[in-house]
């Protein structure tokens, strides 16, 4: 079962991504944005809006991954069971990759929609700072030596708590809205299917990546423990 999980999710991800690429480019309607009064808004995105399916799909699981690593870091500090630490580490590694995709696609979209590559508004700033914490986490893991696991766990928890402060800190919001009346909830019927398919595709992709990363972090840890054990016994030098 465990051995099957990675190829299963990988295959699922591949098919779903292929299907959603097809749906996005050949089936979904072009986007015409309307302003609040329901009139056609001159600054519509048309074809550029297609990046939405990939940007938001990654953003969902970026925050999912951050939550997973924060929660498993708490569990690790509470129980001291290194399995939790492996999960946190693997999830953060994948979150860094997803964060990079979110920032890149977001930046391309911002150029099309607002004609700037970057804007300091809440969600962009939040994603960037969150991503910086994640990169710091990876650096700590790599360079902090034997106590890296604890420091990294602390960082993940502190980073998670910091998110609402970052959100509150930056002023006005020109990002497409999220939540009950947001873009996702009010998607047109032609777009909804393709959107949720792409979200599911990237969930499978995330799971496949995390599971395979989990295997290698666990193997690394076991190797490290084995070496320490050997050193203690005097077998290794």
């Amino acid at each position: 079962m465990k051995k099957l999980a990675i190829p299963l999710f990988a295959v699922l991800a591949a098919t779903c991504i292929a299907a959603s690429v097809y749906l996005v480019f050949f089936v979904t309607p072009l986007e015409y944005s309307f302003n609040e009064a329901g009139k056609f808004n001159g600054s519509s995105l048309f074809f550029n809006q297609k990046i939405f399916y990939f940007h938001v799909g990654h953003a969902f699981w970026l925050f999912g991954a951050v939550f997973v690593s924060g929660a498993s870091s708490i569990a690790y500090l509470k129980t001291r069971n290194p399995r939790w630490d492996d999960i946190a580490s693997a999830s953060t590694d994948v979150a860094v990759a997803f964060g990079a995709v979110v920032l890149l696609t977001g930046s391309i979209w911002a150029k099309a929609a607002w004609d700037v590559w970057w804007q300091w508004e809440p969600r962009l700033t939040m994603s960037l700072l969150l991503w910086l914490v994640l990169v710091g986490y990876v650096l700590v893991r790599r360079f902090a030596g034997p106590s890296a696991d604890r420091i990294a766990a602390g960082m993940a928890i502190f980073g998670m708590v910091g998110v609402p402060f970052i959100y509150k800190m930056v002023g006005q919001d020109s990002h497409p809205a999220a939540g009950k009346n947001g873009v996702v909830a009010t998607l047109g019927p032609g777009m909804r299917g393709a959107f949720w398919l792409s979200v599911a595709a990237f969930l499978c992709w995330y799971l496949a990546l995390v599971l395979s990363r989990l295997d290698s972090t666990r193997a690394e840890r076991q190797l490290r423990e084995l070496r320490e054990h050997g050193l203690d016994l005097g077998v290794l030098q």
Partner: protein, 226 residues
């Protein structure tokens, strides 16, 4: 109550070492003064531009001297391996943490107390036009840096590349603090001071400090084990 007494004792121990050697304060103050001199060459010096950039200068100085001071304050425990003794002491670890954070906050404040007047003097900005909110925000900033910094500086004690990793860990976490500090200072030194904004940022930083103090108290014990 005894917890606070123990914390005060740990803090007083640190401060007494510092008062005798004056190593951290002298070097940090000198470093801060050098920063001010570099600023006055690096940035345009006309009155308008300085008004715009002075909050950044102040808080960059606080950030830099803060991390250097933190690193040094905990290095001292490492050099003589006294951190273990401190953790073994028959007081709650919470008291050790609070004491360390208190002493660090005092050091950061001492440096800020020198750097801020120097900035006002060299760049001729009316930084002290409204001293009370400025002092409050600097105190809150120093507390935030000291609290979050003490947690990570303590965990980094045994790590070889701790000098590089401390800012790598701290700065992303401290961004809200720096934004609150600079925004509040900017609101105060503006030509027409905006007290509502300043008060908003003081509240923001107060809540931020409180949240991270509680979080640090929770996790310190599980993060710092020898």
């Amino acid at each position: 109550m005894s917890m606070l007494r123990h914390a005060a004792r740990v803090a007083w121990k640190d401060l007494r070492i510092e008062l005798r050697s004056r190593e951290i304060v002298y070097t940090m103050v000198f470093f801060g003064a050098l920063l001010v001199v570099i600023y006055s060459f690096a940035f345009p010096r006309d009155a308008r531009a300085v008004r715009g950039s002075i909050p950044g200068m102040l808080w960059v100085a606080i950030a830099f001297t803060g991390t250097i001071g933190l690193g040094r304050a905990f290095d001292r425990e490492r050099e003589n391996d006294t951190m273990r003794a401190l953790l073994l002491a028959p007081v709650p670890r919470l008291a050790v943490f609070l004491g360390k954070a208190l002493a660090t906050a005092a050091l950061v404040l001492a440096v800020a107390a020198v750097c801020t007047p120097l900035l006002a003097l060299f760049l001729s900005v009316p930084l002290f036009a409204h001293p009370v909110p400025l002092i409050v925000i600097v105190i809150l900033g120093a507390i935030g840096i000291a609290v979050i910094g003490s947690v990570f500086a303590a965990t980094l004690l045994k790590v070889r590349s701790r000098d590089v990793l401390l800012p790598v860990i701290l700065y992303p976490l401290l961004v809200p603090l720096f934004v609150a500090g600079t925004s509040c200072t900017a609101a105060l030194v503006a030509e027409i001071p905006n007290f509502d904004a300043a008060w908003y940022w003081i509240q923001f930083l107060g809540i931020y400090d409180a949240a991270f103090l509680v979080l640090s108290i929770w996790v310190f014990e599980s993060l710092v084990i020898e």
